[in-house]
Amino acid sequence: MIQIKQLTKVFDKQVVTDHLDLDIPEGKMTCIIGRSGEGKSVLLKQIIGLIKPTSGNIYIDGVDIVQLTEKEHDTIYEKCGYVFQFAALLDSLTIFENVGISLLENGRDRDEVRKIVIKKLEEVNLSKDILDKYPSELSGGMRKRVGLARTLIRNPKIVLYDEPTTGLDPITSRVVHELMAAMQEKLKITSIVISHDIEIFKYVDYIALLHEGKIRYFGPAATIWESTNPYIYQFIRGLPEGPIQTEKQQ
């Protein structure tokens, strides 16, 4: 269970998250949606500890990660995996080294790691033929799946996805969504996804809408289209009129 209490993040004078409260249900997939620039990625990075909040608390399994020291934070990184928007694969390493990096750096035998990497690549529908290729030789969709394999190799309890289908065509997006749902079903992990893609509503359990630093809506994905919450009503239908102002209105 992830609990976020009164989370505030201020960059210079810009308030990104403003006394935000959110409970993420355990073992479920929750999608955070919101307009571009609302601070969804900043929220996700605060949850994993890459960005320190200005104030507030984030509890993961009852531990307030905001209070942890740098060294203690490693326990959170072991528990949580993060799939980056553009995969963030290391350019200078091969796919094998990228996926297996956390094991290789812990001194595990290369042959042993190779077998684990092949297994993880198969889980994300990638063949072992790409093991010795470099990230620049793969398509965007393949890179994202490699990023997912790199995260899953550590068997995390929580996986955070930062816009996993940005820049992908609809067919590849669907493949990635189905893969995320399959992983969720198989591994029973807690997932948080940031997405602009309303297709993801079919695959997630809950949806939260972030607007002006606060969660304006939280509810089950199955009934989102019936919701009368003015924020979510406007957002998912892309209506110009409503409580969410367009840039022109602002």
Binding site: L50, Y77, E78, F86, A88, L89, D91, I101, E105, R150
Partner: protein, 273 residues
């Protein structure tokens, strides 16, 4: 009219004071952040296992891959230095001391400084650009989420490799500089090989070389820490990487030149060189 003018001057003075105060605070903040970065690097160096494979990789990049430009700059500097010295010494008929001047110049000053500047241009810029790109494409964040300490994995090997390898590059620069001077003197200026070599043997001591090597090691530390720090704090996309790279080379080169004087002075006063 007079009041308006005084008003204007007053406002401009206040604006200038604010600007100066802001700049001063920014400078203090940057220095503080850089010192914190260095302190973190040292702490990680002493408290975590050294990544030998990464160290070797950086030694290859900074050392082996820079060797050709170091040979070339050392050799051409030795040629020019010998020629200029000949022009001056010929007037007094003391050409036999050209070897001494070339050797002292190359070992005490030109070898270490040129090596530092050339490696800053070649490797410091590459370090800043590589780390900057890694930062803006979230590769450094990715390392953190995989419980890999970016200081242990990226920063310590770069700084250590540069600090260790620069003295070896400086030796090559010194040797090729002296060789350049030798070739010019012997094959172009008709100075006997024995005169050139004996003037070096007679007046150049090991302490001259030792001082140059100590200085080049410091230069390696300066260029790599400046470049790594600038790369690590890069923001602002491709333009940010460009700015970072330029800043690293400019700042690294300036600091090497400034440090050269102070190091020379300290080494001289302590009797090391």
């Amino acid at each position: 009219m007079l009041i308006n003018a005084l008003n204007y001057i007053g406002r401009k003075t206040i604006d200038a004071t604010h600007w100066l105060a802001d700049e001063f605070l920014n400078l203090c903040s940057s220095i503080g952040e850089f010192l914190f970065f260095l302190a973190t690097t040292l702490r990680v160096f002493f408290t975590t296992r050294l990544k030998f494979s990464k160290l070797i990789e950086q030694l290859m990049r900074v050392g082996v891959e820079s060797s050709s430009i170091i040979f070339l700059t050392g050799f051409s500097t030795g040629l020019a230095l010998a020629l200029q010295t000949y022009i001056g010494f010929h007037r007094f008929g003391i050409e036999e001391f050209i070897g001494t001047v070339v050797a002292l110049g190359m070992t005490r000053e030109l070898g270490p400084v040129l090596t530092g500047l050339m490696v800053t241009g070649r490797c410091g810029s590459a370090m800043a650009a590589e780390l900057g790109t890694m930062e803006i494409t979230e590769q450094i964040d990715a390392l953190k989420t995989l419980s890999i300490n970016p200081f242990q994995y990226l920063i310590v090997p770069r700084i250590l490799a540069s600090t260790l390898i620069l003295p070896f590059l400086a030796i090559f620069s010194m040797a090729f500089g002296i060789l350049g001077g030798y070739m010019l003197c012997v094959y172009s200026l008709d100075i006997s090989p024995d005169a050139y070599m004996s003037s070096i043997k007679e007046f150049v001591e090991f302490s001259d070389i030792k001082g140059g090597l100590i200085k080049s090691s410091f230069f390696g530390f300066i260029l790599s820490s400046i470049s790594s720090y600038n790369g690590y704090i890069t923001t602002g996309g491709a333009r940010g990487v460009g700015i970072t790279t330029t800043r690293s080379v400019v700042l690294g080169s300036i600091l090497i030149l400034i440090a050269n004087y102070f190091l020379s002075s300290i080494l001289f006063q302590t009797g090391i060189s």
